[in-house]
Symmetry: C2
Subunit: 356 residues, 2 copies
């Protein structure tokens, strides 16, 4: 039996979108391929609220995290971690001999703008890496406040991991001044995994031109230059199935309307939060809750694995706590095409299983 | 109108295989996901004629070329180029600060075993990188002879780019002693682009353990370790659509029978070669012709672009010459699920357009 996914990616994808993956193949060096990527880029610019260029990568989001830290760090990077995925970014830097420091915020908390200011004021860093929405903890960082601080540092290139938030909550890339804003297909964009996306600002381009250790496949400057030279094509052979589905999905997203989409995500988040507060506790600081995922502290000491097994028998799947948080928390994702009705149905089933 | 693809990837994919891409999503940290990757690996071991482990990468083949040269070079790499894709491997090394030398064979020629011997006898290299089948020239390297030489050098780890040949011609990975054998989905495996595959020998594992600059996303050792630790799962979120389709495709390949598949490819190749020799000339040295692609020297000085345009109107696509060979050659791919009947139909149409 198929299980409806309420996990933080892969998310549920509707049949008509899945079917677009099955579009017959075309050559990747044709006008049709150029038109496809150009259309996708134009539509993504609306979702990202940016006028900058959009790069596609046939890889998971981790690939573009690697591309961003290698391509934009000439001197030294500061990686701000508020959970597992922030820490991964630092590990990526180390694995590529990119000079970097890790600043760890306690799990469940967001980073404060003042902390960012203090770090950058040392003058040690020319690039900064922040997770917008951390699915291991359920925290969403206050990027508006952080943006005001980062803007003071003209030489610092800012990469923001919006893998699990883009298209689920408003992220105004140009207004915030984010130089490399990264997402991937299998979260709030409600597509299958297999492709990642980033914006790439002029400031980031200028920086990348000064960096020598950019690598090859994830060299953001090479992706950008090829796109410009070959009229929106990809240096190697891209995942055409994902591009067909992404192009179609973006039409549906713009048809729903971005503001409506953000509102729907907010309503789902609020419903789950209220339920969690009534019956359990929220893991994350209540001032910085994610709009796409809720991390519930398991104060009733339920058997999360058993709950998920029973939910599975009814055709639903949620996530256990991440890593060391296993059974200490459980996570309900409310992103993509999931509706408030879906969420209510899930919660009713959880209530029924737990007898609450 | 859909064009039947006779280009060296993406290739034509049948409807039932495309439809497998549209399988509803599952969690990538579930037993179902483990079972899927394990099944794929077991079947791929048959196609690769290997008992070693199989790694999947959500990326194009270029990604695993990067992974191979970074993960298996501790001292210095020798990259043997017989065309555009061999040269790319060297550029990948340079972009990652991997110590490497490039040995270039004139286009249209294969590398001789003696040349490989001479290079390795210098003792300078602990890794070697060879393209099996070079789609820019139409040459297939004589890997059996090369294998005998490389086996003399116990400390040299051998990576072989079989992106455009695996499953289209017999490559006995273990018998040859190839340590990292790389392919990707959109060539003779007849799937859409978006995933690449490699075998990973014990010798390659031992080498990778001594290499520090392996990077993150394409770190072959990390892919291997995660697969072993998490029972055939992927460190980040893999392209599930490709995995569903690959698993199904492999059943069809094994059903056809590998020997039958190689024979079919050989027959198609011979048909195209004979036609080319009768009407044009073969670009590549006749002793080392590719079984999956024929590069035809444009001795009649036809307008290749115009030919392809007219073919397009009839629902077919072939490839122009690669890079500087544009209009000097044209390329007909005969790989994947293409049949001799398809090839005959294409050739008839070319004859008709050219009036030959």
């Amino acid at each position: 039996m198929h299980k409806k996914l309420f996990i933080p990616g892969p998310v549920e994808v509707e049949k008509d979108v899945l079917e677009k993956l099955a579009t017959p193949m075309i050559g990747h060096r044709t006008k049709d391929a150029s038109d496809l990527q150009r259309e996708i880029s134009d539509k993504l610019r609306k979702v990202f609220h940016t006028k900058e260029e959009i790069l596609l990568s046939t890889s998971s989001g981790t690939g573009l995290l690697e591309g961003a830290i290698r391509s934009t760090t000439a001197k030294r990077a500061i990686v701000i971690s508020i959970g597992a995925f922030g820490k991964r970014w630092y590990e990526i830097a180390k694995a590529n001999n990119v000079e970097a420091d890790l600043y760890e915020v306690p799990w469940g908390e967001a980073v404060k703008a003042e902390e960012v200011d203090k770090l950058l004021s040392t003058g040690k860093y020319d690039s900064i890496f922040i997770t917008h929405n951390e699915t291991s903890t359920g925290v969403m960082n206050p990027v508006e406040e952080i943006s005001k601080v980062i803007k003071k540092y003209k030489d610092v290139v800012w990469s923001l991991d919006c893998v699990s938030s883009m298209a689920g909550t408003k992220i105004e890339v140009d207004k915030l001044g984010v130089d490399v804003c990264i997402t991937s297909t299998q979260k709030a964009l409600a597509l299958p995994p297999g492709m990642s996306i980033c914006s790439f600002s002029k400031k980031a381009i200028e920086r990348a031109e000064k960096v020598t250790n950019r690598g090859y496949y994830f060299d953001l400057l090479a992706l950008y230059k090829y796109l410009k030279k070959k009229d929106y094509q990809y240096p190697s052979t891209p995942s055409l199935p994902h591009m067909f589905a992404l192009n179609y999905r973006l039409d549906k997203i713009l048809e729903e309307g971005l503001e409506n989409r953000y509102k729907r995500h907010k309503e789902m988040a609020e419903y789950v939060r209220n339920w969690a507060k009534e019956n359990f506790k929220l893991y994350a600081n209540e001032n910085f809750l994610s709009n796409t995922l809720t991390n519930v502290e398991n104060t009733k000491n339920i058997d999360v694995k058993d709950l998920n097994k029973k939910l599975g028998e009814r055709g639903f799947a949620i996530s256990d706590g991440y890593g060391n948080l296993k059974n200490k928390t459980f996570r309900i994702a409310h992103m993509g095409e999931t509706t408030l009705e879906d969420i209510k149905e899930l919660i009713e089933n959880i209530n029924d299983i737990l007898g609450i």
